[in-house]
Symmetry: D2
Subunit: 293 residues, 4 copies
């Protein structure tokens, strides 16, 4: 199987390294070519254009920042629709909108290409070490074809439905749940500190004794210790994801007041100068609003 990977940001680069280290031949492309060079020395074939990258590929993985970036590699005379082989499969691993996934599914089908959504759960370090969780959705026969690549790209592959956009919806639901947890932790830590309880004590007791969740542990200690920089996942990207949650919820007729709350918090965090920090920095607002910093 010939595999191409488009997009070598923090996540894409990590996925590429994992696949190479697990024995997969890979052709890679990145908008900013310089970012691709280190992968050449790892054995990847680096191409200057999308068209060259995907010309002979059976599977094309895209790991890009947002809807605009994905659209820009799909459409146009040099885009995937025009340049991928018939029956080749585009696997979108980016966190994109439910609406775009639906649109890409139809567009690829109209030119006899396949489309699968397979977004990633994990931060950059997990991508590089092969520890991301991959949640995929698409038709059974297409999933069957891309399964070897996806299983090699992370620590686990979970297939959750036959319509690609379901994987995007689930990814968005997951990010919403993490954002809700960040808000929860921010408020709880502010409340604890105002009662002279150390954040670490709160976390050890409530998470250690009750929730027992590594995600609470990770984000709780980031907020408690204000380790928002360097960012693992930048605030504007988190804001984008929660925006996509709300857009999909609106389109589906789902009222989500907690998603609205974290969206407003992310916007306010950006307005209050935290745009270059990790997205969990919006948890800091609760501390500031309590007069604690």
């Amino acid at each position: 199987m010939t595999t191409a990977l488009l997009g070598l940001g923090q996540m894409g680069d990590g996925i590429a390294r994992t696949l190479i280290s697990r024995g997969h031949a890979l052709t890679v492309w990145n908008r900013t070519a310089a970012r691709a060079l280190p992968l050449a020395s790892e054995g990847a074939r680096v191409t200057p254009t999308v068209a060259e990258a995907v010309a002979h590929a059976d599977v094309v993985l895209s790991v890009l920042a947002d809807d605009a970036a994905v659209t820009s590699v799909v459409e146009g005379t040099n885009g995937l629709l025009a340049t991928m082989a018939r029956h080749a499969i585009h696997v979108s691993m980016s966190t994109i909108s439910v609406a775009l996934a639906r649109k890409l599914d139809a567009a690829h089908a109209s030119v006899a290409q396949g489309f699968i959504s397979a977004p990633l759960f994990g931060r950059p370090a997990a991508a590089a070490s092969g520890q991301v969780l991959i949640v995929a959705a698409g038709p059974d026969d297409q999933i069957l074809k891309v399964r070897p690549v996806l299983e090699a790209a992370g620590r686990a592959l979970v297939v959750i439905g036959k319509a690609p956009e379901q994987a995007n919806a689930l990814k968005l639901a997951g990010n919403f749940m993490i954002a809700a947890m960040i808000e929860t932790l921010g408020e709880a830590i502010a409340f604890a500190r105002r009662h002279e309880i150390e954040p670490a004590t709160l976390l050890e007791t409530v998470n250690g004794g009750l929730f027992k969740s590594p995600v609470y542990d990770t984000y709780g200690s980031i907020i408690a210790e204000r380790r928002y920089s360097p960012p693992g996942f930048k605030l504007p990207l988190g804001l984008k994801d929660i925006r996509l949650v709300l857009q999909a919820a609106d389109a589906a007729g789902v009222s989500m007041p907690l998603a609205s709350l974290v969206h407003d918090r992310l916007l306010a965090a950006q307005g209050r100068g935290k745009g270059a920090l990790d997205w969990s920095a919006f948890g800091q607002l609760s501390l500031e609003d309590a007069g604690l910093e």
Copy 2:
């Protein structure tokens, strides 16, 4: 050490049984005497009044419903302040307000009695099987005296500070975190279902692959399967706890919009006829508001 236990509701009864089964002699009292009888056959000494229950006790555990119930056993001519021995210690295990804990601390000290807060994390079944987590706060010397009883009453004892009300604050923070999680799950499940994703699939993927928390598992499946009855923890009690969170937050100058949101949800759930169900039934509102039920 002579130990008395006041209050044999679901939680108090469970704690009493655990202590007896672990070899502690116990004098018990309950407002409705009939509820105490089964414990007599387990070996507890049952007394008709608070005064008789605590007359010879070194340690008095109270496990009651709310501030009013605790106040009613503490004040008055037959209350703890008037009838407990000097140097005996009142251990309040109820989920009461931070303000009342402060007041009780001062009141007991004024008559040379001790006071410790040691609220419980766990549902009734956990109390009966000795699996609750006990979070205590109070002066070191008093903690030392009551430690054997508290260690026997659950699966673990965590001491988090020297001021009793800190344990109450931490308990309230914990319940807030669970309520926030319930709202999160309700919204996420409504969002998933509107995208044709089964709640079980959402939970297996996001909690199984990411959060890995038994609390998400428990509440997620309750909401997914609508198992709100019989209630493990009744909605009005949950509403009371979040009310206490907001009162303490207000007094401490902490703005908690997510706590406000779950408070409003609990009130609305009550207004929409769910007052006799488990408190997690407020997670159902998201499904109803999405037109799903």
Copy 3:
């Protein structure tokens, strides 16, 4: 001056009648031709296509439902960009997005046509009786040309800026303020009723004695008397407007928790079966959530 008017829904029909009654010759078009017939007997020239309606017009007023409807009459071989004369001016009176107004402004300029935004404040009865408030924005010279028509179309014309999208932003801000007032009234009426105070008493006292606003009066009595049907302004249209507020706010970096709240309320009202009612029916949720209905 030759004037065309596109769109004869409740608002467009009212504007057309007002202009005719005030002596303006009018060519009209509506997607569903039957709706245009009654205006023919009032003296309007009715055309079957957009192209015919605008071919000789100096000013083209569009009064349509949403972004999609406006886009559909602007783009394509029979759309305004292709068929309006050079230097003719498109006056968009619909409540459309800030983003679309920006896009239309650029598109019309690129073919030497003019573009002005002039959204309406008022309900259908006000449109028909010439009582709407018109808020316009656009370049001075273009405003000068369309002023006679716009002054005749309502009770007042207010020009608030030189960039057309500013008028759209102001219209959205106004609708947000009305939606916020509806939520306020819903909660206040539920609170009053639970204290045995009649809604009419609340309104007479607080609005009559303090706010003194006809808008509070109108919406307060609608909610107090549950006169949500027939709708003056349907709930899905109100939901659309608040969606546009939040989209523009997000793009502009403005956190608006109250706008988010009313958006979630509108979605929930729709999910709870109120989609065919007047948009103020979301004020009813407060009463239902208080167990009052």
Copy 4:
């Protein structure tokens, strides 16, 4: 009729001056005696104790800061219950809790005294110029007796029910409606400014053309011009009032998410250093969160 007035803060002093200027003999008392002296020269009889002030009064007006201040003049051996004549009437004009009004009503009745709630709508300048609106509730016969005094104390007296606490509930509903309007204005102004629309333009257009409310005008210009100091009504007092709204709503089973939102905003404004400003300063948070200041 002999009238006493207790409490000479900004509002009480204004009410006293209005009554004197309209020909009412007045005995006054204030905790800080110095504040009463200027009224002596206006003709008021100044007394050093509550007991002396009310000994011969038929009507006792109290205009105090909060529940605690009112309780402190009512209870105890020198309080109103002990020192007012039988059949004398206590008229509470303070913004106090619904719960306290109920309690005072019962307490006065138990010693054959009357009790009426008659809270004020208006800022200090309105009190001094006789322009406040007085909203009263109580039994008909008692209202009849105090009517001459209350009609002289402001610009209008509205009687809204027979149970005193209804007037307090209505006053709280009114303050909630003003707070909701402040939040509305803050968000709308931030939204407008981010679209290059001057706040004055927004207000002139939307309030001038639509709402037509003097309250929007007053608060809108305060926020637009940031005239938060000197405060007309201090932020902690506004926070107290919204706290009372939420307490009464909770007790009455009314879910009020917008009241919760403004409560959280007021707390955050206090935490962010605005505690000495006018309560409308919480409208400023929207501007700060949008990066505008």
